[in-house]
Amino acid sequence: MTKDDYKKLVKKHTPREPKLRNIVVAFFAGGFIGFFAEFLIYMLQESFGMSKVIAGSWTCLIIIAISSILTAFGFFDNWVNKCKCGLIIPTTGFAHSVTGSALDYKKDGLITGLGSNIFKLAGSVILYGVISAFILVVIRVVING
């Protein structure tokens, strides 16, 4: 059997991922987080008289704090698989990946463990986030002058 034939055999027996279901689940899970954040922004504006920008920053901080605490309680272990990428794509996922790595590596020392591994998963997001922001700003300046 050639390697190509074998690939076909593997494909035949590989169960299909229910992609449509995953997308719908992720849409509603992620959407619920967005809904919750919108509610927070509205509430902060109404109750504390904040401007929309300030309320948005506070909401971001609150979401990060909540998801980090939930990581510590092991909430994501079970729920990421149930909600698919709905929990990982929003800020919750970013906070969770940092806290998860920190929790995992804290026993390997503050420098050699926690320090060097805390951005193990989030590092790519930070690096390519900054680079793409830079490129987009350059494009904007070139177009708008």
Partner: protein
Amino acid sequence: MASKQYKNVYLNDYFTLVGPLEKMSHLKKYNLAMDDYYYKEKTFEQAEVKMQNVVVDNIMSRNCLNNSDINLLIGGDLTNQIAVSNYNAKKYNIPFIGLYSACATFTEELIIASNFVDCSGYKKILTVVSSHNLTAEKQFRYPVEYGAPRPHTSTFTTTGAIATLIGKKEGNIKIESSTIGRVIDMDVSDANNMGAVMAPAAASTLVEHLNDLKRDVSYYDLILTGDLGCVGGKIFQEFLEKNHNIFLKKYMDAGCELFLDSQETYAGGSGPACLPLVLFNKILTTKKYKKILIIGTGALHSTTFVNQKKSIPAIAHAVSLEVC
């Protein structure tokens, strides 16, 4: 010839320790169970060392053995530099061999121990093998707390430790023959589909075993592969049918037999502890099978090579057991 028959080699005793999820699986009559993944230690790695310590201590005390009674200790696990086995071995003043064949480590240990007993006059050899879900996850996949979504082909590393005592003294389980496998690479690089990586290696070893010993597959009451999982098991069967015209009727895969469907481990269990746990705590407890061929299958997975876009090679070793 990669196969060898043994005259007087017996698996005299075994001691099994299972993890928290395995405790609630299909396994019965295990010796000890862990309530949590830390096992009263500070880290998962130290917990795995303790797991090996516990099974070795128990099998020695149960058979009234001292360090000096044992000729050789053979150990293996999944951690880098097989650190767990090394830290376990430092507790005992016994000559030590550390092995790594990923999930085929258990059968590799049996083969090496049997050869020493058969040819070198060693009387008693202890083997120990372990895997811990969270040390393996941390090393091969994501940080433990991350809990990334997994595809349906993925398997779940079994938590458990098993010690066996192999010697010349006649017993219920005879190690009859063995076949050392070759490293096979069919160009699969999906680290979430280890069954597909390992199935050709298992087939190669099985065919070599049958040819060397001039046996038909019906000679065995059961052929038990290590951790191909439910997906890999089907690929293995069809691969044998198409390539070698071998039709397996009495076949099981340990990974697929281990967990309950409700435990959501997808394609089943994996890891070096998977095969021995299912063999000792499920297959042998039924007392239905006399001649069993166990094929430990190991994906020689290196995250470095996979990140460099290389495929994953695999190996499988077979051991024939006769149970009376």
